[in-house]
Symmetry: C2
Subunit: 374 residues, 2 copies
């Protein structure tokens, strides 16, 4: 029986839920390893049944069903262990299958993912079942196993290679979109995927944190080039940002760059200190250290959070932001990405992934963080 199901069982019993419907694709992947379902259409559910004691003597007291249609049943039978397949068809709808299973397993309180189930889906489910309650399981994913960390690390390694590769493509005449495609094609040719559409921003565009790669071209020297991209490999994501200078950086840019880099170092330092002292590490406190460093140097505050957890999704728990209540724990993997953005001038962001180890944070992205002038 897989450990994730056992952890889920504890969470469910804690919340007095004996049946749990999982619908979000990353959570289905997390529990089953199966990642082929589309996020755009409802193609599968998991139903988890948990009982305080083993279902029969000596069993772990948790079992799972996977509900999907004929398009996926062959693949699911081959790849998914620990789950019983229930095939949905024109003769058996999701609703009816769920109703049958809740009756068969004598489920009294059914949990569901309220952020993922639509209003209309909830309405249909309520017809079949009265006692249904929202339960979020996303925190289960925030502490990673060694295998997960190793997968994220491999995605980061490919990201580092993509960065080295694309540096050579930054030349007069090339457009933001063309650079973005170079990154995407490089990653895909290695058999991986992109974890999100690459952000490529030249010059003033770099002052927009989520700039979409445009047709703008590198027409002259002395411009900022901001690159923010990630790899998805074996279902796990990487994410990194580097800001390089096409030409010779002027003093103003250098000061911004240095400040961002030092803000990141301060955050890392504090993670180190608190780990050494074995103190609880508030995510908001790490955010504050980098944020305050930037403002005390006279720059505007970071207009986004300092960082985010990453794994099966590019943004997941924990969140490193001023209002975050998250505590950073051993084996969490997250980004640290301070930035300074000056409208009309440009921006600098440096983003790396770290895993919080026993003795402090360890970088998973390893490209040079020193200023690169091309």
């Amino acid at each position: 029986m897989n450990n994730r199901l056992l952890n889920l069982k504890s969470l469910m019993l804690n919340k007095n839920i004996d049946g749990l419907l999982i619908s979000s694709v990353p959570n289905i992947t997390y529990l089953t390893g199966f990642s082929n379902f589309s996020k755009d259409e409802r193609e599968a559910f998991l139903l988890i049944v948990a009982q305080p004691q083993g279902l029969t003597h000596g069993t772990p007291g948790v079992l799972g069903y996977i509900l999907t249609d004929g398009r996926y049943s062959e693949a699911v039978k081959k790849q998914v262990k620990d789950f019983e397949l229930i095939e949905i068809s024109s003769k058996l709808s999701f609703g009816e299958a769920i109703k049958n299973l809740t009756q068969k397993n004598n489920i009294k309180r059914l949990g569901f993912e309220g952020h993922n189930i639509s209003f209309l889906e909830h309405k249909r489910l309520s017809k079949y079942f009265n006692n249904i309650y929202h339960l979020s399981i996303s925190n289960l994913r925030s502490v990673k196993t060694p295998d997960e960390i190793s997968k994220i690390e491999k995605a980061c390694e490919l990201g580092d290679k993509a960065f080295e590769y694309v540096l050579k493509k930054i030349k007069e005449g090339i457009s933001e979109k063309e650079i973005a495609l170079e990154i995407e094609f490089f990653i895909k040719k290695q058999g991986a995927n992109i974890s999100f559409p690459p952000i490529v921003a030249f010059g003033k565009n770099s002052s927009v944190p989520h700039h979409q790669a445009s047709d703008q071209r590198l027409t002259a020297k002395d411009q900022i080039v901001l690159l923010d991209f990630g790899v998805k490999l074996n279902n796990y994501c990487s994410d990194m940002t580097r800001t390089v200078f096409f030409g010779s950086a002027n003093a103003e840019f250098k000061k911004m760059y240095q400040t961002v880099l030092e803000a990141q170092q301060k955050a890392i330092q504090q993670l180190n200190n608190l780990t050494m002292k074995q103190l609880a590490i508030k995510a908001s406190e790490i955010d504050k250290i980098a944020r305050d460093y930037i403002t005390t140097k006279g720059f505007p505050t970071i207009p986004h959070s300092l960082g985010h957890g990453i794994g099966l999704e590019v943004h997941e728990s924990p969140r490193l932001s001023p209002l975050s209540k998250d505590i950073l724990k051993e084996n969490m993997v997250f980004s640290i990405e301070p930035g300074i953005y000056i409208p009309g001038f440009g921006g600098v962001r440096i983003e790396d992934l770290v895993v919080l180890g026993k003795s402090g944070p360890r970088f998973l992205t390893r490209c040079s963080r020193e200023l690169i002038e091309l």
Copy 2:
């Protein structure tokens, strides 16, 4: 004032709704032309206010707000006409902004998209507003304007070119994934996007209608190669399938191919007949003609619908299926994609897009439908 807002006003008043919250990204794009919002995170809402008479004398009685955050406000100001921008920030949440606007405009009954709003979002909205009702506006999009048809046609033209291009890549040793990447890269190099991950299926894999391109290679001659892919250009999608034969097709494959092709022709013929006679065209009737043709030839029934509408989304209204209640109307654009799938042997699908014109259906995809042997 744009026509789409006026049509929306009629729909709203018809349903006794005087305020409507639009959250789905394709519908936001449809009404504003702005397509940069992510589907994965909630980044924007539209609020449409409709009143039976003009809001003041002589006005059209409908107005729109677009709610989004600072990341998008510059672009929205430049690109979106007819909508007032409300900027969301740490000081003004979506919920509060919606509450303010419903009060200011004296909205009594608020509509929302129940398939798109999650259970938790609905719960939060309900705190601010009691009278909220699900309203689907997706049918508004099923009849296309000449401009939309022309955009879909351009996407189809690029799809045709991609097919011609990729035919040359089908060689011994290449894998399904490599062919899929060739299609994707060709389309992206032309400045367009793919409308979904290309399906490439060799040999027996072609009997799985939604096969995911795998590492399987074309190791020998005499294999089926099924290609199903689409282009997204200027926000509009194309979709086509061709099944070619690598080697010399045997009699069994030829019979399958001919039957699928004739099933498609029967459906087209019936669309022609009914248009000539100016009769209402039931989508289910068109599905039945192709479906029955295939089964009377001794093959299994099509395990999916005969076709689907297409536009801003690759699957949208109308639906050509046995249970569909849709009536096919002038200027609807949809696929006709009969298929035969024999597990252990392989499959054939031929998919084209047509627009239903005044005098009958017209193909938007134009690649040869005759059997190609490579």
